[in-house]
């Protein structure tokens, strides 16, 4: 079976690899690029553990072929901490918004995408936005509070910088 040459930008870095035509973006990230922070939960788009952004849009990387990422800009959990942890990451630690942690990378990526669109989401907006990210330790309340707290801090920083 002939492989497909894929070039993309992942967390700002140019990457290239040879993908099987059936291979998902999730498998390519994990197996070709050793970016194992993106998790496979269900593999069928129900749990959100594999959340990444592609050209700025939040998607399940298990529901996208690696070949479809050709020429695209992909952001994963590995690109989230820049100069130290992202405020969302810090607030997840402070609020103990994780137990086993398997869903956490996907939730952080999804929450970051939310705050980029809406810096001041209501609790309802946060819950709907994250409805596709399942946490089977059921720590949702702490997750929602951590997102609200991070959002508040980021709004404060934004005002401070302006």
């Amino acid at each position: 079976m002939s492989k497909i040459h894929v070039t993309a930008t992942v967390n700002g870095d140019p990457v290239e690899f040879l993908a099987d035509p059936r291979e998902t973006l999730l498998d390519a990230l994990r197996n070709h690029l050793d970016l194992t922070g993106t998790k496979e939960g269900c593999g069928t788009g129900d749990c959100g553990a594999c959340s990444v952004t592609v050209d700025g849009t939040l998607v399940c990387s298990c529901l996208m072929l690696a070949a479809e990422a050709n020429g695209k800009r992909v952001e994963t959990i590995e690109g989230m901490a820049r100069d130290g942890l992202h405020p969302l990451q810090r607030k997840f630690i402070e609020h103990a918004a994780l137990q086993c942690g398997f869903c956490t990378p996907g939730i952080l990526v999804a929450a970051k995408a939310l705050l980029e669109r809406n810096p001041d989401p209501s609790e309802t907006e946060i819950r709907y936005w994250l409805a596709g990210n399942l946490c089977r330790c059921t720590g949702y309340d702490k997750i929602v509070r951590a997102v609200q707290d991070a959002a508040a801090e980021m709004r404060q920083d934004h005002r401070g910088a302006a």
């Binding site: 035509p21 959340s51 939040l58 529901l63 072929l65 479809e68």
Partner: protein, 288 residues
């Protein structure tokens, strides 16, 4: 599996017509990739349509309607203020499909071609009187959305044919539409029953109506009986009762894990009534 990236619909149709094995078209992929992973479908030819120019665009038609590209995802439809103003029922139906992540990929054309009788975006399209352009090896034709589904998982498209655009008619004056579905939780589920209503008023009176019911038959139904129940009325209580009765009469559901036949029939009436009220209020220019 051969992964194709044609740059025109005629090329896509030609590849499809030449394929002798299992074939799938790829737009958002939120159904196809799940089917591939589950082993339900192992395509020999997978035709990715996203390299065709224009598939990601939403454009005004010359008549004042909308032409929607087949790869426009739900999140883009939901973010399009003018489209939302014209056809809120169509957009809210699509936006009920799956999670934020799924909305980033899932498309109207995919939801339609997946052939589910419970597809949330299809009743709204049918009620709106939307059409699709079907392109095949011998050219293109325009058909109403309700002519596409043939039964669960099946469409009336011939081998080599595919949908190349979706067209919504001009909204026109004093019109409103709405879609409601019932699910036993608040998010991330498949409709037990869905209902879309699209109507136009003259003063307080309904002068045009189209009502579509989802998940109560092998395909989404366009119900003339429901439309007749409210045309000529001011959507008063008597009209709403007649509408509910008509919807109950049209519903021919099965019992399954999502709901019993009896429950679905009753809910069809309830949703028809409520969706008609919302559509009426929207036609009146009230926020709903």
């Amino acid at each position: 599996m051969r992964y194709h990236t044609p740059t025109s619909f005629s090329d896509a149709a030609a590849i499809a017509a030449a394929s002798s094995g299992t074939l799938r078209f790829l737009a958002g992929g939120t159904d196809v990739l799940v089917q591939m992973r589950a082993g339900m479908v192992q395509p020999d030819d997978l035709i990715d349509l996203k390299h065709i120019p224009g598939v990601d665009r939403i454009e005004r038609t010359a008549e004042g309607g909308w032409k929607i590209g087949i790869a426009v995802p739900g999140i883009v439809l939901g973010g399009h203020a003018e489209l939302m103003r014209d056809w809120p029922g169509v957009v809210e139906g699509m936006n009920l499909v799956g999670s934020t992540q799924v909305q980033g990929r899932a498309t109207l054309a995919g939801n339609l071609c997946n052939g589910s009788p419970a597809a949330d975006s299809v009743p709204g399209l049918i009620a709106a009187g939307a059409t699709v352009t079907v392109t095949g090896p011998n050219g293109s034709r325009e058909i109403p959305v309700e002519a596409v589904p043939a039964g669960p998982g099946k469409t009336n498209l011939a081998r080599g044919e595919l949908i190349s655009a979706i067209t919504l008619p001009p909204r026109g004056k004093n019109g409103g539409d709405a879609y409601l579905r019932f699910i036993p939780r608040t998010e991330m589920d498949i409709a037990v029953v869905g209902c879309a209503v699209n109507l136009r008023l003259d003063g307080d009176k309904v002068v045009e109506a189209r009502v579509a019911l989802g998940a109560v038959a092998p395909t989404v139904l366009l119900s003339d009986a429901c439309a007749r129940a409210i045309i000529g009325t001011t959507l008063d209580d008597a009209a709403l009762i007649a509408l509910a009765k008509a919807a109950e009469g049209e519903a021919k559901p099965i019992s399954d894990k999502r709901g019993t036949k009896e429950f679905r029939i009753e809910v069809a009436g309830v949703l028809a009534r409520r969706a008609a009220k919302i559509a009426y209020d929207r036609a009146k220019g009230m926020k709903a």
